[in-house]
């Protein structure tokens, strides 16, 4: 017995279990399942359903006690099989069933319902209840995404606890009391939470159902596959379920390393686009103002010929590619290899000019793991609003900051929660963020002045000295990224450089788009080769003779197109017109480039201007690997076939290479993965076999046999301080006008919409009425005005990429006038 364990006896078996563990968990980990409804391993116990009553003897004789609220103690004896225990459990089930409508045949949960299952296992034969059952109005919508049937509810408080404890938006609560207790929302406050879908997943009955999934399938008709969510870069584990070749549901998987079972509603419900009838299904070739359908052969031959012409007449550097972050590592590797070995150009970038330096993202020193957040003494978030852009990281940071440790017995009082020591949380962002309510320190600054604040943080007095003192308390985890599209990307790196001066600090560099880290690791950047290798690194010989001069990044590619230097541009899952902050530049560049190819799922604003459009396989339609922001490599898996004639990116590029008289030498995605595991130093040994069979939580690279040739020190050059009368902050929201959202109508509807947020004083000063015209460095719009006292004076905020508003540019200086 170590100092961290105690001995207990469960049903006559002596066990050594971790100190402080709850009896229900200790028993379960040792093969004894105690029935339960309200207990959830990721939330604090409430002991409400009473289903887990067992005999616990702590020295004063066996007493019926709830196993979910009792921590183990040395010498404790637990009896889960005594007839009195069985009787108590049967009694509870009978109580739960007396008012249950038993409408299982029309309930979504039927077939996967804990209440149904436990009734079969532990329940009484038939009901002795002859009275009138409790009635409520049958399912009522409590948000756009969730329906509530109070008759089915067993009042386990999982949903209410989730929204209070985990997501921090307690919009769903118990009303009334006793026999009349019901779960509900407050009048005029719908359950509008970014995380509402989790309550549907953890509800032990069919009381909470997802509007989207209602009556769509029965559990026994579903096929399922585990995969990795690619809405953001956290690498959240999911199960995808489909029926008759249609994806119907995503569920969160409790992976300790990443999402711990939770998902945002965007991840959970944001798959509608995959099933959209707007998907591209055949190759298209420009025909005047429109397109005509073509065969793959015809389309690829045309591309091969036009690329060949450009390379011959203007050289390989006249060809460029943007994108690659939406697919798998295998796709990205194919793009990287295609550009380097077939075209001979380093002009490729998976970033849309809206994130950070490629080397920093891919290869910074002192990189943290997500789980380091749990153990941090101090957490610094200087980057995007996590709630909007990295929702599951928001949950994790929030939990760490509150310091409520699931599994710990505590009273059901908030104050008690707060008393449990949490990490000190420092949030730095130009406006209010989702984490502010749990932050110990919140620093706000005007876009363009971040460098000034950073200097003060290094040397300032008063409150800043307090923050500095907090940051001196390690271990520190710093989540750094670009707070918005008008911020100089070098600021985040300078923040990282500052973080490196702290004792015991690690860095999680934040980029948002899907597989950005994987694409960078595959070399889809002007300065990188596969496996975290610098383009100039001569020891990388796997691809033979390749250009070694750094190529153009996204911005430079667009500028090159405008200047006539880029003659042919490949867009691979990229929509620069919507995604690049300098939308105007992207717009003109795409107009100017003589030959434009788009590989995409949809005819996006950008693809609509292409000369050739190729339909690609999307998420859930192809197998491969992706890499998250920690550098964790995990599998994505296929469950449905692609739309029409769509193909995976790698296969399109492989075919194209052959038609250009070259070859990438690929036979399958798995073969590419093998090649990556051989040639990319950081990925050495990371094959699908390893991921499928050995590494439950994926592999953080470089792991095992891997090495990382490029180790990047963040540069301490925060960029210039920009001051102006009015400065613009523009950042992404969870729901926006991005292409996947646009084709997922029920979420697209939830986008906040284009608006100009301004401090009331500024609105008065500028004489703004209901609408105002805002002119940015690279775009302008006339928008509804929203006054927001939480903004600093002189700062205006426009949510990025909303329906009806173009990007306004990456310079913070703007002018606003009444319209």
């Amino acid at each position: 017995m170590s100092e961290h364990t105690v001995r207990i006896v469960v049903d006559g078996r002596e066990l050594e279990v971790p100190k402080g563990e709850l009896v229900i968990k200790a028993a379960q980990d040792n093969g004894t399942y105690i029935p339960r409804f309200c207990w959830h391993p990721r939330m604090k116990p409430v002991g409400m359903c009473r289903m887990c009553l067992v005999f616990i003897d702590s020295g004063r004789g066996p007493m019926l006690t709830t196993a979910c609220t009792t921590p183990v103690a040395d010498g404790m004896k637990v009896d889960t099989t005594d007839p009195a225990v069985k009787k108590a459990q049967e009694g509870i089930l009978e109580f739960l069933l007396i008012n249950h409508p038993l409408d299982c045949p029309v309930c979504d949960r039927g077939g996967e319902c804990p209440l149904q299952d436990q009734t079969m296992a532990y329940g009484p034969g038939e009901s002795r209840f002859v009275e009138e059952k409790r009635h409520f109005e049958k399912p009522i919508p409590i948000s756009d995404l969730v329906m509530l049937d109070r008759e089915r509810c067993i009042l386990c408080a999982r949903c209410t606890r989730f929204s209070e404890e985990v997501s921090g938006d307690p919009l769903i609560e118990f009303l009334d009391r006793g026999y009349h207790t019901e779960v509900n929302t407050f009048p005029d406050h719908p359950f509008r939470s970014y995380f509402s879908g989790n309550t549907v997943q953890i509800c032990p009955v069919g009381a909470l159902t997802a509007t989207l999934y209602r009556f769509r399938a029965r559990p026994w008709d579903l096929v399922a596959v585990e995969s990795t969510c690619t809405h953001c870069t956290a690498g959240d584990r999911i199960v995808i379920q489909a029926s008759q070749n249609e994806i119907l549901r995503f569920l969160g998987v409790d992976a300790e390393a990443t999402n711990q079972g939770w998902l945002s509603d965007k991840c959970r419900f944001g798959f509608g686009y995959i099933n959209s009838d707007q998907r591209l299904t055949v190759p298209l070739i420009r025909d005047g103002d429109g397109f005509r359908e073509a065969t793959w052969g015809e389309a690829l031959d045309l591309i091969a010929q036009r690329l060949g012409d450009v390379i011959r007449t203007s050289g390989p550097d006249a060809v460029a590619a943007l994108g690659g972050a939406r697919g798998t590592n295998e796709d990205a590797y194919a793009l990287s290899k295609f550009m380097r070995t077939v075209v001979g150009s380093n002009n490729l970038d998976c970033r849309m000019d809206d994130t950070l330096d490629a080397e920093f993202l891919a290869a910074t020193v002192d990189r943290a793991l997500i789980s380091d957040i749990d153990r941090a003494k101090t957490i610094l978030v200087w980057g995007p609003d996590l709630k909007e852009e990295h929702p599951t990281l928001y949950l994790r940071v929030r939990r760490a900051a509150i310091g409520s440790v699931p599994g710990l017995v505590s009273s059901n009082s908030d104050a008690h929660l707060a008393a449990a020591a949490g990490a000190t949380l420092v949030v730095v962002h130009p406006r209010a963020t989702g984490l502010d309510p749990v932050a110990d320190f919140k620093l706000t600054y005007r876009p363009g002045s971040g460098a000034e604040l950073l200097a003060q943080l290094r040397a300032g007095e008063g409150r800043l000295a307090e923050v500095r003192a907090a940051l001196a308390e390690g271990p520190v985890v710093a989540l750094v990224g670009r707070t918005g599209s008008t911020e100089d990307p070098r600021l985040a790196e300078a923040v990282a450089a500052f973080v490196r001066t702290l004792p015991d600090a690690k860095i999680l560099p934040l980029a948002r788009r899907a597989n950005t880290y994987g694409a960078l690791d595959m070399g889809v950047a002007p300065t990188l080769l596969p496996g975290r290798v610098s383009i100039s690194e001569e020891t990388f010989t796997a691809w033979g003779d390749i250009p070694r001069k750094p190529g153009r990044d996204c911005r430079s590619i667009l500028e090159g197109a405008l200047a006539g230097d880029i003659q042919a541009l490949l867009l691979v899952g990229a929509d620069p017109v919507r995604d690049v902050p300098d939308g105007d530049l992207a717009d003109r560049a795409l107009d100017a480039v003589p030959f434009l190819v788009a590989v995409d799922l949809f005819l996006t604003d950008s693809a609509g201007r292409a000369d050739v459009v190729l339909p690609a396989d999307g998420f859930g339609e192809k197998e491969g690997t992706v890499t998250n922001l920690e550098g964790r490599v995990q599998k994505v898996n296929a469950i449905v076939p692609g739309a029409g004639q769509s193909r995976p990116d790698w296969s399109i590029l492989d075919d194209l290479a052959r038609r250009m008289g070259s070859s990438l030498g690929f036979g399958s995605a798995e073969a590419i993965a093998k090649e990556i595991a051989e040639v990319a130093p950081a990925y050495r040994g990371v094959t699908w076999d390893v991921l499928d069979w050995e590494a439950r939580d994926g592999v953080v690279v470089p792991g095992g046999e891997g090495t990382q040739p490029l180790v990047y020190l963040p540069a301490d050059t925060p960029g210039p301080i920009i001051k102006a009368d009015l400065v613009l902050h523009s950042a992404r929201t969870m729901y926006d006008d991005g292409v996947t959202m646009r084709h997922t109508p029920h979420l697209h509807r939830l986008a906040p919409g284009a608006a100009l947020h301004v401090h009331p004083d500024d609105a008065a000063r500028l004489g703004l009425g209901f609408r105002a015209r805002v002119v940015g460095s690279s775009g302008s719009a006339t928008l509804p005005v929203v006054t927001d006292p939480s903004l600093a004076r002189g700062v205006v905020y426009v949510p990025f990429n909303q329906p009806g508003c173009p990007p306004l540019g990456s310079d913070p200086r703007v002018t606003v006038e009444p319209a």
Partner: protein, 431 residues
């Protein structure tokens, strides 16, 4: 048989103005509070321990011992439980209304004894007048410098807040009370921690005591531990307020020492029954308590232990007397209905089971009972309170659910025939 007046002395002697600060001070009030500041913590706790004072809120837990459990962390809080909502209990009401300064003085003593600088009085929502009187008394005490900063010219600060509940019986349970005070739903907290003295209000060490318990403190200081002990029974010291109601000629609050018999209480103190009526049964300690019947219990001594050994409790001192005109099914149904109505709803057995019991009893009373209902009744009760034992072996978080079982276990035990008569005659045999 005469009352032994301690906490009700002043209101008996000065019925017109016992609640005013003038009368209070004129009759020696606040001198013990002043003394307590001189005595200091340890001596005060010792004194209360030696006095043998048992809590008057229902559980009869030794007050001095509770105080000595108070965890060392500070701030710590004192909460006075004035939520008095148990059917039949109305003693705190009188103390609040007729002698509020006695409570304030008690609060000062308890605060000093426990090194508390913030006290709260949680008053039952329906007690508008008692709350006004108390609020007034607190304001007067502030006015004279007995509360607030540097009380009585010492360097001791004490703030007192009077808080009105919102009409839930369960908020009398001390941890539900704390939740309610914090602004949460009035739901009992999980045990452990068993005592708020470890983790209470806002997660801080907290003493929760009943109004009557606290009102006794000035008298203990005045009489000394021995003087106080001498008043009562050796095991149950001091006096006890009985709220006698029901079919007696003189219902009311009576302050008495422990140790008299039920016969004396019902037939002498409370004036006995009306002409021609006979005693059928009584509830010895509030709606939660199992009932007593004349054949078995009339000559029992009224002490905590004797009542406990006989399978019930003195609880909050509410004695409800029922004569032979009482339909016990109806009486039980009304009590169960009360508990079902007041269940907070957290625990499945209490939320669902108490209402189920209520429905079955209601059906039997209306004449729609079936023979099998008696078994169902007993088994449902058993699933809330295992074996219908006393003190209950609960399947719930707090004792409210099991409280609803007491009337069921009582009538099935003593009045089975009357239940069966309801079933067989399809209605109440007494009507």
């Amino acid at each position: 048989m005469n009352e032994t007046r301690l906490v009700t002395r002043r209101m008996a002697d000065h019925p017109a103005d016992s609640h005013t600060i003038e009368r209070y001070e004129a009759t020696g009030g606040y001198s013990q509070a002043r003394r307590s500041l001189q005595m200091g913590r340890e001596r005060l706790v010792e004194l209360v321990k030696e006095s043998g004072l048992l809590g008057r809120g229902g559980a009869a837990f030794p007050a001095g011992m509770k105080w000595s459990f108070l965890a060392p962390a500070r701030p710590a809080y004192l909460v006075v439980n004035a939520d008095e909502s148990e059917p039949g209990t109305y003693k705190d009401r009188q103390l609040l209304e007729r002698d509020p300064h006695q409570l304030v003085e008690g609060i000062i003593i308890a605060a000093v004894a426990n090194e508390v600088h913030h006290a709260f009085v949680y008053v039952r929502g329906e007690y508008a007048r008692p709350a006004r009187r108390l609020q007034r008394a607190v304001e007067e005490a502030y006015g004279r410098g007995y509360l607030g900063k540097d009380i009585f010219g010492s360097d001791y600060d004490l703030e007192v807040v009077v808080h009105l509940g919102a009409g839930a019986y369960i908020c009398g349970e001390e941890t539900a009370l704390l939740n309610s005070l914090e602004g949460h739903r009035g739901e009992p907290r999980l045990k452990p921690p068993y005592f708020p003295a470890a983790t209470g209000l806002y997660g801080k060490p907290t003493i929760v005591n009943n109004v009557e318990t606290i009102s006794n403190l000035p008298h203990i200081l005045e009489l000394g531990a021995d003087g106080f002990r001498k008043l009562g029974h050796p095991e149950d010291t001091g006096t006890f307020l009985f709220s006698v109601s029901g079919h007696v000629r003189k219902p009311g609050n009576y302050e008495l020492p422990h140790g008299i018999t039920w016969r004396e209480l019902i037939f002498e103190v409370a004036g006995g029954l009306r002409e021609g009526r006979t005693l059928k049964c009584w509830i010895p300690g509030g709606a939660s308590a199992p009932w007593f019947v004349p054949a078995d219990h009339l000559d029992l001594e009224i002490t905590k232990d004797a009542t406990g050994r006989a399978g019930s409790m003195l609880g909050s001192g509410a004695v409800v007397v029922m004569d032979d005109t009482t339909c016990v099914v109806r009486a039980a149904q009304r009590i169960v209905r009360f508990f079902a109505h007041e269940s907070c709803g957290q625990c499945t057995p209490c939320r669902e089971g108490t209402s189920w019991l209520e429905m079955i009893l209601g059906r039997i009373e209306e004449g729609a009972g079936r023979e099998v209902d008696v078994d169902v009744l007993l088994d449902v009760a058993d699933n809330i309170s295992v074996g219908l034992a006393w003190p209950p072996r609960m399947t719930t978080i707090c004792p409210l659910g099991p409280s609803a079982v007491s009337p069921v276990s009582s009538i099935t035990r003593y009045f089975k025939d009357e239940i069966m008569a309801h079933i067989h005659q399809a209605g109440c045999p007494l009507r």
